[in-house]
Subunit: 461 residues, 2 copies
């Protein structure tokens, strides 16, 4: 008898798991239950599609259509919403939204890849409130595109990745943009040294910015701040974050972790037999802290899905963990991070030492050389790199990927100074930014060590 | 009494060592003896300066002038040529080319940073030969710039980094270019899969290319090949490689390694007491093979110089080794390598497995996404990455620096598939090229292992 693999969710983790299981086990039956009409699209591409619908047409965001999955032998059921999981019986209750009927579907292996949902708006919404939209699914993007005509003024709530990318998108579309972040700085997961530069970039490009202030109400065609300020808006984009979509899992007895997302083993298995979880609804082990974290990111979802797919198909592999690497574009700058920031490192029990530095992206005399600002953190005791954050208009992705590779290998700051990176004037200064960071941190660690020794040694006379 | 540190050579390694020693030991006397008029210039920038003298004026290639070094307390003596080293007495004989006088200069610590010189032309040079130039020093670049007016047709001998960069430069200046490489393919240190793509790029951009053929004579206003073919040339650039400038060191009793360059300890010390060597005249330990190699590259010279400078100033540090990382630009493509190629890995005693693959540089739907071609090599027994070569029009430098960082940390192909790299559509596809390479190599290693086990196990009945 063939294994029946059922996947709930058809975006990143779900389709990757289904396709992987299909390839690994040609005898298995693979069923995907997806409540949207479309599958396997790039959520991360939505801001770029909205900014330039001609250059990046909607169809290009869809990696594979349901038909392509079906041709590969995957039973792809779109507009099918799972309403209940019965892990004891090994079946799910499914609502076919097209046919308006409900049925039960047995499984041998089940994957929960229900993703994340936008956090709800906390402010009161009055009668004369402007229209409120989110950007999470491809349907959300369609809604924004449809309602944008006539909109002159957009207010974005939330200064995370999506909020900043969409500030860029709306400005590219010629709209006035105001961005409001409740925390003291935008991108609160970054150290302030980096966030301040991003804020300057936003202002340079004409984005009106309010930080450290909450929205109390949407009313009278605008947004009212807790300070009483009123900002006119034709459209409000709520980008105040997401939370894992765990209602279905919770109701079935699936255990959540401290992060609020589904706790999983390295095999991506939940506490229930034969039930796996992957993607934005599940936790990941962090390789620097060795603690579970919740990182709702497309590439993590993809790697989760691969591991779950292999294991459901009868293989045995483990998810290798995350570093918390992320990157986004805002106007002409890129902003990226990997590993721990200074405060995160403190919280995780390290003795962090951090430095902020500027370095040119290429030989200074080459066109296209731009300054990078880097914030690097290492552990005083072991000399190990703990994290890196970068902002700039060039080579940010390269610099952060070097840092991520270094973190993966557990390299120290002296390794960083020494790595034999590729040098030629069009690509790098002779001392690469990451090498400069390694030298600076190495010097600082040495000074701290000497200072500590001086304190502990009696003065010699 | 203060230490007297004497440095022979004032380009990359020499000036880095002098500046480092100066910073580390403010009591030391630091003297640099440089036979050229200029110091501390970017040799690697010369092709770019020649291609675009307005965008990259000559002065910008000079990182620091002699005056700046002198202001920092370094006794910078330009146009001073060292003629002899007497290691027993601890002094060097110096010819002051300006004043036309010879003197002896005592030292406590000596650094030989004499660099490399162009390999001599092997072909006969007839009476009516076209003008023959090299590109090694800033003076060579001046000579090329001066003699270029009236030149319509350039023949480049040698298809290494300099030959290819200069093919690009001469085409940018509107000249006809023919490139001749004696080996079967250009960039002979790369695997053929990569070299073939570079050859196609050269031809696409109108460079006439001859490979696998030697030049027998320069005569009658052209180059005559061993096949009898005659190629008209107004100017011949000889870029058939360089060799370490070791005559001075050899005469003093300094030992060379098997590569022909100066053998050094991890401290960059030679066999003679108080005599160090650094830069293009010295060997480096290769971190993958653990054998000395000779890599005349600017960034290696810089790192050599730093280590020698610290140690001559009374510190104690070691050079961490090289990976053989290199990169160059040719027209719209970049070409890069790190670690070992397939044949090099075989020669070093590994059991290499290599794969060639194509991957997009960014999400396929983003403008600017270009295909990368990668050649990756891993060891069958340990799964360790051994090397990577990449060619393409985007993200080559990033991809090779990820590989170099992975090699530095001794990562395996399964690590490569898993590294948490930075993903967002403008910067990377969701499966980064290096992750795709890791997955492909992992699959191949697994297949080979299963095949080997099948051979060694008796058939079951």
């Amino acid at each position: 008898m063939s294994t029946r693999i059922v996947v709930i969710g058809g975006v990143a983790a779900g389709t990757k798991a289904a396709a992987t299981a299909r390839r690994r086990n040609s005898a298995a039956e693979v069923i995907v239950l997806q409540n949207e009409a479309e599958v396997s699209y790039s959520s991360c591409g939505l801001p770029y599609h909205l900014a330039d619908a001609q250059g990046i047409p909607r169809a290009r965001l869809i990696a594979r259509t349901p038909e392509v999955f079906r041709a590969d032998g995957i039973d792809m059921r779109t507009r099918h919403r799972v309403e209940e999981i019965d892990a004891q019986q090994g079946l799910v209750t499914v609502r076919d939204l097209q046919q308006a009927r409900t049925y039960t579907q047995p499984y041998d292996k089940l994957l929960i890849a229900t993703g994340a949902i936008a956090s709800p708006l906390k402010a009161r919404v009055g009668a004369a409130a402007p229209q409120v939209l989110h950007l999470r699914s491809i349907g959300d993007a369609d809604a924004i595109a449809q309602r944008l005509s006539g909109v002159r003024k957009v207010v974005i709530l939330g200064g995370g990745y999506i909020g900043l990318e969409m500030a860029h998108t709306f400005k590219a579309l010629g709209r006035d943009v105001t961005l409001i972040e409740a925390m003291p700085h935008v991108i609160p997961s970054y150290d302030a040294a980096i966030a301040l530069i991003v804020e300057a970039t936003l202002r340079e490009h004409g984005v009106e910015l309010f930080t450290g202030v909450r929205v109390s109400e949407l009313a009278d065609g605008g947004v009212i701040l807790e300070t009483g300020n009123r900002i006119v808006a034709d459209l409000v984009l709520v980008a105040t974050g997401v939370r894992p979509a765990t209602a279905l899992a919770l109701a079935a007895g699936v255990k959540l972790g401290d992060t609020g997302a589904i706790a999983v083993s390295p095999q991506m298995a939940t506490n229930l037999p034969n039930v796996y979880a992957a993607g934005d609804c599940a936790e990941s082990p962090h390789r620097v802290t060795n603690r579970p974290v919740w990182l709702p990111l497309g590439d993590v979802a993809n790697r989760h899905g691969r591991v779950a797919g292999i294991n459901m198909a009868g293989g045995n592999t483990e998810f290798a963990g995350v570093l918390g690497t992320g990157i986004f574009q805002v106007f002409d700058s890129a902003v990226a991070r990997t590993g721990l920031g200074h405060v995160e490192a403190l919280a995780a029990g390290f003795t962090p030492v951090s430095e902020t530095l500027q370095a040119p992206s290429r030989a200074r005399y080459m066109r296209g050389s731009k300054p990078l600002t880097m914030r690097v953190t290492a552990d005083q005791h072991t000399g190990r790199l703990l994290g890196c954050q970068v902002v700039g208009a060039d080579a940010v992705d390269k610099t952060i990927d070097i840092a991520a590779s270094a973190l993966w290998g557990g390299l120290t700051v002296s390794d960083l100074a020494d790595i034999d990176l590729a040098y030629a004037p069009p690509f790098s200064p002779v001392l690469a930014p990451m090498q400069a960071a390694g030298e600076l941190l190495g010097k600082r660690l040495g000074e701290n060590q000497r200072a500590a020794q001086a304190i502990h040694q009696p003065a010699q006379t």
